[in-house]
Symmetry: C2
Subunit: 343 residues, 2 copies
């Protein structure tokens, strides 16, 4: 069977099933608190449980070397890439409620011939910058020649007092979001559709340059809500990071919690920058916010209201399905816009 | 600067230097027992130190999908690939003296369009087979679309009572090897030079089929000396796994221990299979054993004689350099045959 017929989430489900075999032995089972299938894995350890995650970034799948120009040159681009590749990993730990420190990290890189030593230096400068900001220590790695630039990162940290999984949402729980959606996807849109300054439109180009720059920055330097997640985790019944867009994230929470959901699209926070860019580039800001992904904001559910966060919907019974509303009218999800690998 | 001008080991040295910045903070330093630059990293933990390693395997760099035929078909090939990708990682833990259990594992895969669901199933069957044999639990992973099949594995285990680094060899120490060298590289030679049966030479083909099959098997199913390493670690002053060939391994031990060495090539153990194949394929068995790599036998040094292991040389003072002897005559190393990425 072709992978595209199964899709990314189908394949992950298959693999998770195959791995049950390796977890079935009772001795092993006892030490694995959260098995494969969540944002991160949790295992028992003498003092506090340890929490693990791994993520890979592939050239021409997650990023393109041709973006260097729009991203401020090769040096800035590789530094941003290093920073971001750690951010996506730490986001997985934070969405489970991991402690902010100590966190250790292993970095595997595959380097094609087109990469120079200076590029690798910039990549590691970005990695180090992130490590210093979030108090992470790089303890090891692997360097290889490869045909496409590849970055594989593994993080290990200590689980917080509350481990929040994808599967704990209950009907009646409110659904919350830690920040605005769509900026990162809009930044990607800028990278994929760079505008060259033309003398005729130069003043307009200049006036919108800042908007585009800020969105690219949000794409490469996403927020990591690890400290916020610590306080959220105490009350949240489920939590996930918004890596593949709101719709995919809600689907995952509902599938694993065996629930439905009702989402009010009017309540999804969208930044002023995204609104401005949407007019500029003639894109629908709601589509960008819904399907875009890579914002790494936290989506979480809670029975009790959480101060400082606006609810955008409610968890429903499974038989009600997952429904989206705009201006009080039910609106259909564009399934073809949902991001999945292999599709 | 081009990566090939620096070479793999040069680049690793550079990266290790850059990472010092992230380790310089005293708070972090205290918890890192073995920093980047060895087979595996070791960090402090409440009961016993934890030990970490990560390794990536790239299509067309470490393996080719075109080998499937020679490796016994697509199913056997992907299963072997899964098995081997874990073996190379566990070998890194074992050469530091890690405990055989518990060991946890994260598996990242990049899957191109040419791969089918059945291939992924076979890959995970091989991974599970290895996990069952060595009591390893797969706790997480990442699946992505990519242009080339990529496997990135991270292992975490518990350090044994003795952690044996590359850097502890002292002049006068004897150099030992845990098993024969060259079989894996000969297996690779078979895969790269498959022989098609021709009616004229069919009986000869059949009689040598078994030799070739065994060598391919040694390439994909290398031994992992994790239990042996436990007893060796108590007396060894330094240890490394022979992943890039004997010469590269000796170079690394001497560089990190700041010593020289004298190696007697007559004493390097070579299997009967390799000897037979060398005649068959007109290759020099000593070259295969010296430069081939991927045998994953342990190379270690010790002041006291270690029963059950034959010494193949002695650690010398740094100013004596690293010298190889054949029939009591010094022999030159063919530097162009040394395996390094980027070269």
């Amino acid at each position: 069977m072709k992978l595209k017929n199964l899709g990314e989430y189908g394949l992950v489900n298959e693999i998770t099933g195959w791995l049950q075999a390796s977890l079935r032995k009772p001795v092993r089972d006892k030490t694995v608190i959260v098995p494969p299938g969540d944002d991160a894995a949790v295992i028992k350890s003498p003092k506090r449980p340890l929490i693990f995650t791994t993520d890979m970034l592939f050239e021409d799948m997650h990023f393109c070397l041709s973006w260097a120009g729009a991203a401020g040159g090769r040096k800035a681009f590789f530094e941003a890439l290093g920073y971001k590749s750690l951010a996506v990993n730490l986001s997985d730990l934070s969405s489970m409620g991991a402690k902010p420190a100590p966190i250790y990290c292993l970095i595997g890189v595959g380097l094609p011939e087109s990469i120079e030593v200076e590029d690798v230096r910039s990549l590691y400068r970005g990695l180090n910058k992130f490590c210093n900001k979030y108090n992470i220590t790089i303890i090891g790695g692997d360097t290889n020649a490869s045909q496409k630039l590849t970055i594989a990162i593994t993080l290990v940290g200590i689980a917080g007092s509350h481990t929040t999984r994808r599967s704990g949402a209950k009907p009646g729980d409110k659904i919350y979001l830690s920040g605005p959606l769509g900026d990162s996807a809009a930044g990607l849109h800028v990278l994929l559709n760079p505008v060259k300054p033309r003398s005729k439109h130069f003043s307009r180009f200049l006036s919108t340059l800042r908007i585009r720059k800020n969105l690219i920055r949000k794409h490469f330097y996403p927020p990591v809500r690890i400290k916020e997640a610590q306080s959220i985790a105490k009350q949240a019944s489920s939590m996930i990071d918004c890596s593949d867009g709101l719709v995919n994230s809600i689907n995952l929470i509902c599938e694993m919690s065996k629930t439905g959901a009702a989402i009010n699209l009017d309540l999804i926070p969208v930044s002023p920058g995204l609104k401005q860019y949407s007019r500029l580039a003639s894109v629908n800001p709601m589509d960008v916010a819904l399907y875009g992904g890579e914002d790494y904001e936290l989506i979480f559910t809670s029975k009790k209201p959480l101060s400082g966060f606006k609810s955008l919907g409610t968890i429903e019974n499974k038989n009600k399905g997952i429904k989206y509303y705009l201006n009080d009218k039910e609106t259909k999800i564009k399934k073809e816009k949902l991001y999945q690998h292999f599709k």
